[in-house]
Amino acid sequence: MNWIIAPVLLPALLAPLIGYVMRHDITLARIASVAGTLLLAGIATGLLISASSGETEVYFLGDWAAPFGIVLVLDRLSAMMVFLTAVLAVLVVIHAVATGWDNKGRHFHALFQFQLMGICGAFLTGDAFNLFVFFEVLLIASYGLMIHSGGKERLQAGLQYVVMNLAGSTLFLFALGTLYASVGTLNIADLAVRVAEIPPEEAGLVRVAAMLLMVVFAIKAALFPLQFWLPASYANAPAPVAALFAIMTKVGAYAIIRIHTVVFGPDMPALDGMIGDWLFPAAIVTIALGGIGVLGARRLMPLAGFSVVGSMGTLMVAVAVFTPEATTAALYYLVHSTLAAAALFLVADLVITRRGTDNLQAMPVTVQNGLFSALFFGAAIAVAGMPPLSGFLGKLLILDTIRQPDLIVWAWVAVLTGSLLTIVGFARAGSMLFWKSTAEPVPDLPEGTVPPPAARAMEVMPALTALLLLGLLAVLAGPTTNYLEATSVQLFERSDYIGAVLGTGEEG
C-alpha cells in the first residue's frame, strides 16, 4: 500500500459519496466530512513522520516511469504542506459544522472535500501539467464554496473571483506550452535537468516561461500587482471558507518555492537570478498595500483580507531571496500566517454573527463581549506579529536571514512599517468593536426578534485551537525550525529530488 496517493484519493472518493448519497441528510454528511478530514489529518501525520527521515519518496501513477508518466513526490516540503492543510481543514470543518454555515447552502461538505483533494494534490505532484490540473480542481471547488449560501454581494464577488482565476488558468497553460516548446518535458525533476543544461545565450524562451509561471503563481499568492482580487473575494466569502482560503494563497507561494527553486533556481545559468529581482520589489509593495488596506478598512472582513495580503508580502520577501536560510524563515512564517489568518477569519465570523454586521462602528455590546475581545486580541497580535505568538519569531527569522546589503534596508523598513500599520489598524478596529461599544446604550429589542445566542464551546473551540497552535509553534520554535532547515536544505539540494524521481544514475 502506497500512502502518498492517500491524501488525494480519500477526499476524491469521499466527496462524490457526500454529494450524491448523503445530499439530503446533513447529519450524515457532517459525520462523513469530519471523519474524513480527521482521517486525512492522521494520514498527513504519518506522511510527515515518514518524510522526516529525509528520504524523498516517489509514487509512479500507473507505474509509468518518469518522466513519461505522472509522479507524486513526497519530500519534507510537500509532507509539511499536506499536514498544514489537514490541520487547517479539521479546524475549519468543525467551525462550519458548529456554526451551521454548512447548512446555509447546498453541497458544502462535498465541495470542501474536493477542495482538499485539489490542495493536497497540488502539494504532492511532481509534474507541472498535473499541477495545473490540481489547481483547476481546487479552483472549481473554491468557486462553489466562495458563493456558498448566496447573496447579492457574494455572487458579485464570486463572479469576479471566477473570471480572475480563469484568466490566470489560461495564462498557466500559455506558460506550460512555452515551457514544453523550449525544453520538451513537463516533469519537474526532468525540467530541472534540462533547464540546467541550457546556456544563457539560448535561454530566451525558458526565461519567458519562467516569468509567465511566476505571474500565474503571483495571482494565486496575491502578489502586487495581482493582489487586487483578494480583499473583495475574501471579504465576501463565507468566513469558514475564507479561513480555508488561507491555505490557497500558500499554494501559490508553495509553487513559487518549488518550481522557482528546483527548476528555475538562482544558480541556473539560463535564469541568472532574474526571478528574485522581480519578486523582491513586488513583495515589498505588497506589504505596503496590505498595511495601508488594514489601516483604511471600514469593515472587519476586508480588514482581515488586507492583513492576508500583507502577510503574503512578508512571506514572499523571504522567498525572493532564494537562500536556504531565508527559505527556512519563509516556511516558518508560512505555517504561522496560515494558522493566524484562519484564526482571524474564524473569530471574525463569531463576532459578525453576534453583531449582525461587519461594519467597524460602535454598537451596543453583544453577548460574551469579554470572550470575543480576548479571542480577537489573540488573533490580532498573531497577525500583526507581536510576542508571545509565533508571528513575532517568524518576522524576526525573516529579518535575520536577509543579509544581502542591497536588500536589507528595504526588507527591514517594509516589514517593520507594515507591522506598525497592521498593529494600528487592528488596535483601532478592536477598540471600536469591543471597547467603544460598551458605552453604547442597549436598545430595547423590537417585538418578536431574538438576540443572537451565546457561542457554544464547540463554536469557539476551532478559533481557540488555532491560537493555541500558534502559541505551540512559538514554544516549539526550536524543533520546528530544525525540521524546516532540513526541508530547505533538501529543497536546494536538488540532485536528491531528481535522483528519486528519475532513478539514480540518470541525473545530469
Binding site: Q156, L173, Y180, A181, A232, R298
Partner: protein, 120 residues
C-alpha cells in the same frame, strides 16, 4: 502552416483580451472562450507542427511521427476549459439574476469593501 497557426492564435488572443476588458459578464465569457481556443492551439503547436504523421512510433525508427504529448495535454485543457466555462455561465447567471445587471466591476454601484454607496 506556421504563419496560419501563429496568426490565428494572435487573432484569438487579441479578441479574447479585448472582450475581457469590456467588463460585462457576457463579453467576458466569450472573451475567456476565445482565449481558451487560442491557448489550445498554442499548446497543440508547442510540440512542433508536422503534417500528416501519426502520433506514434511505427516500424523503422523515428523518421515520421508527431509529438503525442501536446495532443494529450490539449485534450485535458479542452475538457477543463469546457467545464470552467459552464461554471462561469452559471455563476454569472446567478449574479445577473440577483443584481439585475451584468457588470463585473464591483465598485460601480455599490462599494463592496466599505459597505457604503459609492458617490461616483
Amino acid at each position: 502552416m506556421e504563419i496560419v497557426i501563429a496568426s490565428s492564435i494572435a487573432t484569438l488572443t487579441a479578441g479574447g483580451v479585448y472582450l475581457i476588458l469590456r467588463l460585462r459578464a457576457f463579453a467576458v465569457i466569450l472573451g475567456l472562450a476565445l482565449l481558451s481556443y487560442a491557448v489550445n492551439l498554442f499548446i497543440f503547436s508547442s510540440g512542433g507542427l508536422t503534417v500528416d504523421e501519426p502520433p506514434i512510433l511505427h516500424g523503422d525508427g523515428i523518421a515520421g511521427y508527431t509529438d503525442p504529448l501536446p495532443q494529450a495535454l490539449v485534450l485535458t485543457a479542452i475538457v477543463i476549459s469546457f467545464g470552467m466555462t459552464a461554471v462561469l455561465v452559471m455563476v454569472s447567471l446567478g449574479a445577473y439574476l440577483e443584481r439585475g445587471n451584468d457588470k463585473l466591476d464591483i465598485h460601480e454601484d455599490e462599494d463592496a469593501l466599505s459597505g457604503e454607496p459609492d458617490a461616483q
